[in-house]
């Protein structure tokens, strides 16, 4: 008997030695986490009823979190254990060989920035569709006056829509996917400064997302106070709201760790010849974004912490009746979230600054001005937060300085627009899909920026605050800006990332349907807003019926158009043309290596002797010259 046990243990040990190190550490980590969860769940279940400590919503919330994460982990651990103990190879853990080449490495802890970028890419794209679904539910409700869903469900839809789109699509796509994939390549190095922390940033995203969405399992539903979560409404939220706060906290730390990684990579790991003023603008944009993430996101983390304490333990930080101050939430939240809107747009500007010179065959107009404008926006973005609070009970005299800083921030933004126009002027313009989306950003962002300036002036904002006009503004900057740039980025970098070209005709159809759907959906919002339709209500005055129906039709067209993108990508894997190393004749360093790049990005370290955008100059190398026949 004892002998059997000893052989079994030896058997286990032998297998343990065979596991790759990361696999062993990973399994140990999972197991430890699992034990902690089971323990906490146990403790919660046994907390005596009715004591001051046992907060029923808190218990529900923790229970749900533990449950959702626990079941997933338990399955993974059990499979691993059985497979390992029986001596077969663990199917969840790729072999070293597979880690280098196979598809399966995308489902495991990889430390290669390209793999992590692609993990971010598909994850964000997945959430884009979930968030889009929520948006369509909102538009379904609003297509006609009267109620289809309950107001309570409606509140959950728009809250989850914005939360998912912002925290799980735009930010992880721009910074996580494109930033991760492109930055090390663009500065000519082999990986990020901290590859393991990079993997950690990514692997914090799925749990954060699961926690937020676990609200669907709670009896009272998900968070429903909007993505801005203002008290006192937010304090009534219960389990769903607490899950939201916890999830945002987790996603916040993912951003912070990622930001730190980008800064160190950009500051310390540029290859020879890439001095600061030879960095492509996308890299500058990511660097500025990283500063905002590192210095802004902790403010959000602190804010959600305080609100969590308030709901979970009744600490009255935001409870006016007990000496708290609900307005404090708005200050702390916007101190993060205004910089956060620039986290969402600066990388988009960066992508467009990459694409426009390549498809105009001209050097970027005013490179330094663009760099300074990017940094200037970064600094100013910390000084404008109270423009979201003009209509609140904040000291009225504070409105004037914040109005001024808000107007001021439009200046560097305007500089960028003129630089792009200057680049386009007299260029040899190629209207391929990435360029179409970039031009869409330039034009749509002008509309969004100008409506922003309207909202930034106090008297106008007092009329328009919390109406559909604000919704129009945010969609012109976030869809017309960030999302269009993301699509442009997908068409531009897809060949590099996956080694296949996307189909141009499908791309153009995708573009035109999106562009039309977008404007049909969001232009009328300016009108309904100015006429007085408030945001965040499930029903409206019948006077707004026609405009709302138009908006909903546009929204469904826009939603449908995105299926073409998916089809185009899936098709590319089957029959797409194999991508050459440099399909667009671009000059930035990621195009100097194969598509997709080898494990360490470049065969040999590079020494760079040219600027990133010296297109069309006699002195530059052949691929920088205009393509004959263009």
């Amino acid at each position: 008997m004892v002998g059997h046990i000893v052989t079994f243990v030896q058997h286990l040990q032998a297998h343990a030695r065979q596991l790759p190190r990361l696999g062993r550490a990973g399994s140990a980590f999972l197991l430890a986490l699992l034990l902690v969860m089971v323990g906490t769940g146990q403790a919660l279940a046994q907390a005596p009823e009715g004591t001051a400590n046992a907060n029923p919503t808190l218990t529900t919330m923790l229970g749900i979190t533990m449950g959702v994460l626990g079941v997933g982990l338990l399955t993974a651990v059990l499979i691993s254990f059985v497979v390992w103990a029986t001596g077969t190879r663990n199917p969840l853990i790729p072999t070293d060989e597979e880690m280098e080449h196979s598809f399966r490495r995308y489902f495991w802890f990889s430390v290669d920035h390209k793999v992590i970028g692609i993990q971010y890419f598909w994850t964000s794209l997945f959430f884009f569709f979930i968030g889009g679904l929520m948006a369509l539910l909102v538009r379904w409700e609003l297509a006609q006056p009267g109620l289809t869903f309950t107001p309570d469900q409606y509140n959950q839809f728009f809250t989850m829509h914005a939360t998912i789109m912002i925290f799980l699509f735009i930010i992880p796509m721009l910074v996580g996917a494109f930033g991760n994939y492109a930055v090390p390549l663009m500065v000519g190095t082999f990986d990020m400064a901290f590859p393991k922390l990079n993997a950690l940033s990514y692997w914090l995203v799925p749990p954060g997302a699961l926690i937020i969405m676990a609200g669907f399992l709670a009896e009272s539903g998900t968070a429903k106070a909007g993505w801005t979560s203002y008290p006192p409404v937010a304090l009534q939220g219960g389990a769903g709201q607490m899950l939201w706060l916890l999830g945002v906290f987790v996603l916040g730390w993912s951003s912070i760790v990622g930001g730190m990684n980008f800064l160190v990579t950009i500051m310390n790991m540029r290859t020879k010849g890439v001095h600061y003023f030879r960095l492509p603008l996308f890299v500058w944009a990511i660097a500025t974004t990283a500063v905002l993430a590192v210095l802004g996101t902790p403010s959000l983390a602190a804010a959600v912490t305080l609100q969590f304490m308030n709901i979970a333990f009744g600490f009255p930080f935001f409870d006016a009746a007990k000496g708290g101050n609900p307005l404090m939430w708005q200050h702390v939240f916007w101190f993060y979230s205004h910089p956060a809107v620039y986290i969402m747009i600066l990388p988009a500007f960066g992508i467009v600054s990459e694409i426009i010179p390549v498809f105009s065959r001209k050097p970027l107009f005013g490179y330094r001005a663009l760099v300074y404008a990017t940094a200037g926006i970064g600094v100013l973005s910390f000084l404008v937060w109270a423009h979201h609070m003009f209509a609140s009970a904040m000291f009225p005299w504070l409105r004037i300085p914040f109005m001024l800083t808000t107007m001021l921030i439009a200046v560097p933004t305007g500089i960028k627009i003129f630089n792009w126009l200057g680049t386009l002027a007299f260029g040899k313009i190629r209207l391929e899909t990435p360029m179409l989306f970039s031009l869409a950003l330039v034009s749509m962002f002008v509309i969004g920026g100008i409506s922003g300036v309207f909202l930034g002036s106090v008297p106008v904002d007092l009329h328009l605050h919390d109406t559909y006009f604000v919704v129009a503004h945010i969609h012109y900057v976030l869809f017309g800006g960030s999302a269009f740039a993301i699509f442009g980025g997908i068409y531009y970098w897809f060949p590099k990332m996956f080694g296949r070209m996307l189909n141009e005709s499908l791309g153009k159809i995708h573009f035109w349907l999106s562009f039309i759907g977008f404007n049909v959906a969001f232009l009328p919002m300016h009108a309904v807003g100015a006429l007085g339709m408030p945001r965040r209500y499930a029903d409206y005055d019948i006077a707004f019926t026609e405009l709302n129906l138009t908006i909903s039709i546009g929204a469904f067209l826009l939603g449908f158009a995105q299926l073409i993108l998916i089809y185009n990508m899936l098709r590319a894997f089957q029959v797409g043309k194999v991508a050459p190393a440099n399909p667009w004749n671009a000059r930035t360093l990621e195009w100097l290596t194969t598509s997709p790049p080898p494990h360490y990005n470049f065969e040999e370290p590079l020494t760079v002797d040219h600027d990133p955008y010296d297109y069309g100059r006699r002195i530059s190398s052949p691929e920088a010259l205009p393509v004959p026949g263009d």
Binding site: F190, L263, G273, A302, T305, G323, M328, Y600
Partner: protein, 210 residues
């Protein structure tokens, strides 16, 4: 990761900041921690201004200034120990380094222990002035107590994480990983510990002294 390839690339880098990746990363991370605590502290401080009376009453009843002073002293000393440990390894005195690190560990543990005593004490204090018992229960009516638990709680969590990381550093020290030229993990950990110490000094000032 293939160190040979990495080395080849690193040899061909543009001069960066001159600070090692690890140290630069740590500084950036600490910058974000500073903002995190700054916002928490500022939030509580602003609320204090609206609740001067509550603050005064509960502070009187709910803090054990003597214990906290002892704790402050211990934490400051532990920071000194870390400096000594780094100094020792720089001069190649491995045994001394281990000794200093053990002293730091003891300091950290005492801090946590005293802190938990104080939390119990505070509960008692609140109870005496007629508020419901239970750590959480008592704080529900008071901005001071809410702020106190939140701030010291988050700081305490940082100390606890610091202690866990120190155990890791100690294990490496005993494995002989640190030499006068290579003691990166120790140095990084030291930066973190000094930060935690600094936060405590601020908390001590605003929660106990002012």
């Amino acid at each position: 990761m293939n160190p040979e390839i990495a080395r080849k690339f690193i040899a061909n880098q543009e001069t960066g900041t001159g600070v090692s990746n690890d140290k630069l990363g740590m500084w950036i991370f600490l910058a974000s921690e500073v903002i995190f605590f700054a916002v928490l502290i500022a939030g509580v401080f602003v609320l204090r201004l609206r609740n001067l009376e509550d603050w005064a009453i509960h502070k009187e009843a709910g803090t054990a200034t003597f214990l906290a002073t002892v704790n402050t002293f211990i934490l400051i000393m532990s920071s000194v120990f870390v400096v000594s440990a780094i100094d020792a390894i720089q001069r190649g005195k491995e045994q001394m380094m281990k000794l200093w690190l053990w002293l730091t560990l003891i300091g950290g543990c005492i801090f946590l222990f005293v802190q938990s005593l104080e939390w119990a004490e505070l509960e008692h204090g609140l109870h005496e002035i007629g508020l419901p018992a239970g750590i959480v229960g008592g704080a529900q009516e008071s901005i001071f107590a809410s702020g106190f638990y939140t701030l010291t709680g988050f700081h305490g969590t940082h100390v606890a994480i610091g202690v866990l990381l120190l155990i890791y550093v100690l294990i490496r020290a005993h494995r002989g990983d640190f030499t006068p030229r290579q003691y990166n993990a120790l140095e990084m950990w030291g930066l973190y510990w000094h930060f935690v110490d600094l936060v405590w000094i601020i908390l001590f000032t605003i929660l106990y002294l002012l």
